[in-house]
Symmetry: C2
Subunit: 250 residues, 2 copies
């Protein structure tokens, strides 16, 4: 944890916050923080700041928090549309996507997505939120990505996507056979959404549908990468195309 | 498995290869290949080709292989110097590094590497090879990255690195505070080595040592990423800076 994340209701009006459970354990046993130690803290979807350890007991840690206009990195101008991967892959990927600063994660059905992937408890809101907060704590930031779940790709593209994204968002479709190499792609907007297919790829009909809705095919080479690897790779490259500074950025 | 990898001793002079164990299971149960089906095959560190299923039984699959000048992606002109991560992270990372086409992986000690990480069975040669081959199978390629293990960072930098790399290799040190953003970096060589620190980072003395040995600091932003995430992110960006086509490339 490079920043201790607090829910807003956990911070009292006087700035104190009482940690129990895994965060208290982390502060005491991993950081070995004693009274007087200063830690980076932040409120989920709120400000970042500094917490001074006032006291610790076996089970809890009391912090005095001060939230200033801190230097926590803002989100990146990047959105991900991802064919729902296997639950195990998704669980591993969610914290990493949050750490990388993705804004909106659209999880969608597709022809080659196994239908029972939608039944996993990994998709339950508390689990997703837990994974996202793990990623924010790692990256030292506070803004929670939005995740939405879509059981119909066509409906997502035809009815839901326009409303969920600000208008000038470049739309990209990752495809090993696409002629445009992502590293050479020149964006015409200040924000990008990238669509990543299931293991086995999108079917032709889906590719046609994406193109009809303004998606441009891009490639990062002919290697066939696991869907979690490819998400991280694409987002890493896009972060360099849309480099954001500290704070600001929206 | 997007390519069935064979050891050279497994391919008979007439091109037949007999699969048992996990690969036979994969061909029969995942690919559901019947006699006559054609599969992508390849020899570890050798040519890629096509295998036609001649027969299957409960436990084995017999392939007739033809190795032509195939289109398997070559390795990328990229090397990784990585402070040895936790065994669990390393095990997960090795196949992904192979899939991304890294040439040489230098695993090294550093001040903030826990010494017992070197005792893990994950570092045993057969385990490493197994992980690398998993990544090659995923990516559809055949060239095995080299992995070397270094218990002394200073000795690696002072005595071992020059001999292990061809001379014109750009040397980069990943560091969140570095002033040069990797996406804007202009290489002066056709090949790059990137050094990635342990959780908690390199200590100042190590950074000084890297700089003395020609490493330039680069950053992909102020987020603190897990060491596996940061490796994949850095390599993904470098692959776009050094894009390789199909085949050739050395």
């Amino acid at each position: 944890m490079n920043r201790i994340l607090l829910e807003s209701h956990e911070v009292a009006d006087d700035g104190t916050a009482l940690l129990r459970g895994p965060r208290a354990h982390h502060v005491r046993s991993v950081l070995r923080a004693r009274p007087g130690a200063r830690l980076r803290v932040g409120v989920v979807n709120g400000p970042a700041g500094e917490g001074t350890v006032r006291s610790t007991t076996d089970a809890q840690v009391l912090l005095d928090c001060v939230f200033s206009s801190d230097s926590a990195p803002d989100m990146e101008p990047l959105d991900l549309l991802l064919a729902l991967p296997r639950p195990k892959v998704l669980r591993r990927l969610v914290p990493q996507l949050a750490a990388l600063g993705v804004r909106h994660i659209f999880l969608t059905n597709a022809w080659r997505v196994e239908k029972n992937y939608f039944d996993t408890h990994v998709l339950e809101e508390p689990r997703l939120r837990e994974g996202l907060i793990e990623g924010l704590s790692q990256a030292g930031t506070t803004r929670l990505p939005e995740i939405s779940i879509h059981r119909h790709l066509r409906r997502l593209l035809e009815d839901e996507l326009d409303g969920a994204l600000p208008a000038p968002t470049a739309r990209l479709l990752a495809h090993p056979a696409a002629p445009v190499r992502l590293g050479r792609w020149i964006p015409a907007a200040a924000r990008a959404l990238i669509a990543v297919g299931p293991e086995g790829g999108w079917i032709d009909r889906e590719v046609t549908l994406f193109k009809k809705h303004g998606f441009q095919g891009v490639s990062i080479g002919s290697r066939i990468l696991r869907s979690d690897t490819v998400c991280l790779a694409l987002l890493a490259v896009l972060r360099e195309i849309f480099p954001s500074g500290m704070a600001g950025g929206e």
